[in-house]
Each structure stands twice: as C-alpha cells, then as structure tokens.
Amino acid sequence: MKKITLDARELEHPKPLAMAINILKSLDDTNYLYMVHRKNPIPLIDLAQEHHFQVLSHEDDEGTWHILITKNHTADLKELLLV
C-alpha cells in the first residue's frame, strides 16, 4: 500500500487537521495516511471513524503520536505502523 506521510509535529494548529482532511478526501483502497503529531488528534480520528475509515493511533515512548488512516478495511495498520 502507498504511504502518504504527513509530519505535523512543527505545524501550528489547525494546519495539521486541515492538511489531513485534504488527504482523507483523496484516499482510496490502495493507500493510507501516516501522520506524525505531538498530540493525539482526536477530532481527526473521530471524523475519520464517523466516515468509516480504519484508524490506528499510537503513542511512542517519546510521547510522539503515530496515526494511520485508510479506507481499506483489510489492511493491517499495526503491521503498517512498523513499515
């Protein structure tokens, strides 16, 4: 699957949300959004879930959040997190 990366760690609110929503609009079954953020972007996760995306949100030991979102429900996001 094609990875679309968005590193939002140094972007001011609400740019990460705006950019992520734009990417969500273009997603299909062959790709996924990989977002890195300093906070857990709950409004984005919520929006994605309400529109039936598959979502994974994970905080690493350094407090950085890794968010994966895809339209493909057969994709294993835990595995993609390691890619």
Partner: protein
C-alpha cells in the same frame, strides 16, 4: 483542537451556542462604549455609580459571556467533558443572564430600588450557579486531570464563590441586610473575580492552547500542577482570615500579583520560543495581554504601598487590557476554526477556508483598534476629553467583533444551503 482523552464530533456543541455567547459579549461591549460616553471620566472614581456600572458591563456583560462561549466550546475539547443538551443549557443560562445583567445595571444606576437588586440576584445567581455547578460536577468526575482541566475547575469554584459574595452584597445594596461584613465580602468578591475567575481561567486555557496553537515548549509541570489551585487556596484562606485580620488581603494580593507576573513572563518566553515564528495578530494579542498583565500587577503591588488613586485606576485598566486582549486572541482562533471544521466534518466540499472566514488582516486591524482604544482610555486620565475617543473606539472594537461573528455565521448558513458535499 486536541485532547489526550477524546472528543466526539457529536460531543462538540452546536456552533450557534458558541457564536451567540460571543455575540452577546460583543453587544455588551458596544453598550459599554455608549455608557463610557454617558458617564465619561466619572468611571475612574471607584465610588461612583459609573464605575460600578462599567465594571459590571465589563465583567458580566463581556467577560462572562465570552468565557461561557469558550467553556461551552473548550470543555469537551481540552477537558473531555461532555455537556449533554448544550442548546437547552445555553438557553437556561443566556436568557436570565442577559435580563439579570441589564437589571443589575439599572439597579446600580438608580440606587436603592430593592426589587431591582432582588430580581438581578435571582436571575444572575440562578443562571450562573446553575451552569457552574453542572460544569464542576462533570469536571470532578474526570478520572485523569490535565493542568487545564484542574485550572478550569479552580476557576469555576472561584466563580461560585464570587457569585455567593455578590449575592450578599446585593442584599446589602437592596436594603435586605445590614451589611456588617460588607467591606470584607466586597474585597473577597473582586479578588475572586479578578484573580480566581478571570486570571485562572485564562491561565488554565493557556496551558493547552499556547503550546498547541503556537508550537511552543510546554509549561513547566510545577506551574501546570499547582498555580491555579494555589491561587484558589490563597484566595480562600485570605477570605476566611480577613474577618479577623483585614490586612491579610494586602499580603494575599502581593503574592498573587507576583505569581501572575511570573506566569506572564514565562508565557511571553514561551511565545518567543515558537518553532515557526510567523507573524499573526493572535500572537500580538497574547503579547499585549501578557504585557498588560505585568503592568497591571506592578501597579497593583505599587498600590499596596502608595495610596494614590491613579495607581489603582491604572491597575484595573491594564487588567482590563489583559483580559480583553486574550479574549480577542482566542476569538480570532476559535471562530474561523469552528466554522471551517463544522462544515468540513459535515462533508462540504465548498467550505470556506479559515482565512476566508476572518482574514488575518482583519484581525490585525482589530489589534490596532484595540491598542488605540486602550491608549485613548489611559490618555483620558491626563486629558479628560480623550474619554469620548475611547468610547468611540470601544464601540468600533466590539462592533468589529460582532460583525465577524455575523459574517462567519452567514458563511456557515450559506454553505449549508448552497454548498456541495463530497464523500470521504
């Protein structure tokens, strides 16, 4: 806006709830400008009815209105608190609040008309305590508190205590009570209002939003953990001790002023440590607000040692500049974001972008209007005629704010009627 704990889109309040409290604040601001032209320089005499009326237009009409807008919006977002039936709750608060404020202003203006004080007490006490208790109850149920949620809880406790003190004062002013403890309760009332409610709420929200909006390093843990609760504790102790030792307030105010100066200096430092230092009117509003807080607290401390009227007047004027500047900073972040986010989450392809809802240049122009208003108000202490210019600029400033709300709401409704939707 983010939370570590979670926010569902259906938890966020309807946009109308937030907008109408902001609009209420703007309309009372315009009323404040008109009243400034009527009372003129009398407002600088703390014993005058003009000062009493204007102070409550500012604290209740403007500040409480916008702080309720911010709380309705931000409690679910930064504290993970869900307020059920937000429209119904907003109605229960807003209508009695507006009538109560107007009644109280008439009561102050006309003097001893007992029933006006009684009516104002019932309407204001009922509506404010109603929403404060609901919010406190929800906050106390949280299992994991952030520095912001703890601070908001402390601020709401202060709101409850300042309202209870106000109810005592109105029974005295209305002639229902002899007022044996009037002076002590009055000091507690404004101390809880300025330090415990307005300052603590702004501080608590800033713990989250400065880092989030402007990509700065976080505040030190010790400040996030103890500052808000510490201020509430100091105020509570001073309120009790003052019945036996009235001078305790001087010590309490000195410590509080030092704490607020330390907070403001740190917040200014954080703003200077932004990772992407882009010029933005909201940053300037924050800087002006924090700078005003420092000047206010320095005047406040000076006033503890020097019995000069203008020092006290300057302390309150600069405190007003602090609070209003932060209100405008938050306003220009919240309104465009909410409009855009609500429309985007509803799937409108043609949702206006944030800069199309309120252009950054519009916020910058407001910044200069606000600065001019403050300058004219302070100048009027030296040249009394400047008060009319200050009045006009106050009307312009809040008219500007009101127009932005109406315009954002117009774009919101227009997009909902005519906009095209996309499928995620």
């Amino acid at each position: 806006m983010f939370s570590q704990k979670g926010l569902s889109l259906d938890q966020a309040p309807p946009i109308s709830v937030v907008f109408r409290f902001f609009l209420q604040g703007a309309l009372f601001g315009i009323v404040g400008g008109v009243l400034l032209a009527i009372y003129q320089n009398e407002v600088f005499d703390p014993a005058s009815k003009g000062a009493l009326v204007l102070t409550h237009v500012f604290t209740l009409g403007i500040m409480l209105s916008v702080m309720l807008a911010a709380l309705f919006q931000m409690l679910p977002v930064i504290a993970g608190v869900k307020l059920t039936s937000p429209i119904k709750k907003a109605n229960w608060v807003q209508y009695p609040l507006v009538v109560g404020i107007i009644t109280l202003l008439f009561a102050f203006h006309f003097g001893k008309i007992s029933w006006l004080y009684l009516l104002a007490s019932v309407l204001l006490g009922g509506s404010i305590l109603f929403i404060a208790f609901i919010m406190i109850e929800k906050l106390l149920r949280l299992s994991n508190h952030s520095s912001s949620s703890k601070g908001i809880t402390a601020a709401l406790f202060s709101l409850v205590l300042l309202v209870l003190a106000a109810l005592y004062l109105t029974t005295v002013l209305g002639g229902y009570n002899e007022g044996v403890h009037y002076v002590e309760i009055k000091t507690a009332h404004y101390s809880f209002g300025l330090f415990g409610w307005i300052a603590v709420l702004i501080i608590s929200i800033s713990f989250q939003v400065i880092e989030m909006f402007y990509v700065t390093p976080p505040y030190p843990n010790i400040m996030g953990k103890y500052l808000s609760g510490g201020i509430l504790f100091l105020l509570a102790i001073a309120s009790i001790v003052s019945f036996f030792l009235p001078d305790i307030w001087a010590v309490c105010h000195l410590v509080l002023a030092l704490l607020l100066v330390a907070y403001a200096l740190l917040a200014l430092k954080r703003l200077s440590q932004r990772k992407r230092p882009i010029s933005d009117a909201t940053v300037w509003f924050w800087r002006l607000g924090l700078g005003s807080l420092i000047v206010s607290m320095l005047c406040f401390m000076l006033g503890l040692f020097v019995q000069t009227a203008w020092v006290h007047t300057l302390a309150y004027l600069w405190f007003g500049a602090f609070a209003l500047s932060i209100v405008f900073a938050m306003f220009y972040k919240i309104v465009p974001f909410l409009t855009w986010f609500h429309l985007s989450s509803q799937g409108y392809f043609t949702a206006p972008m944030m800069h199309e809802i309120i252009h950054p240049k519009t916020a910058k122009k407001h910044f200069w209007i606000h600065c001019s208003m403050m300058a004219a108000l302070i100048m009027s202490l030296i040249v009394p005629q400047f008060i009319l210019l200050a009045s006009l600029l106050t009307i312009l400033s809040f008219g500007w704010m009101g127009y932005q709300i109406v315009h954002a709401h117009y774009l919101y409704v227009k997009t909902q009627k005519e906009g095209q939707k996309f499928n995620y």
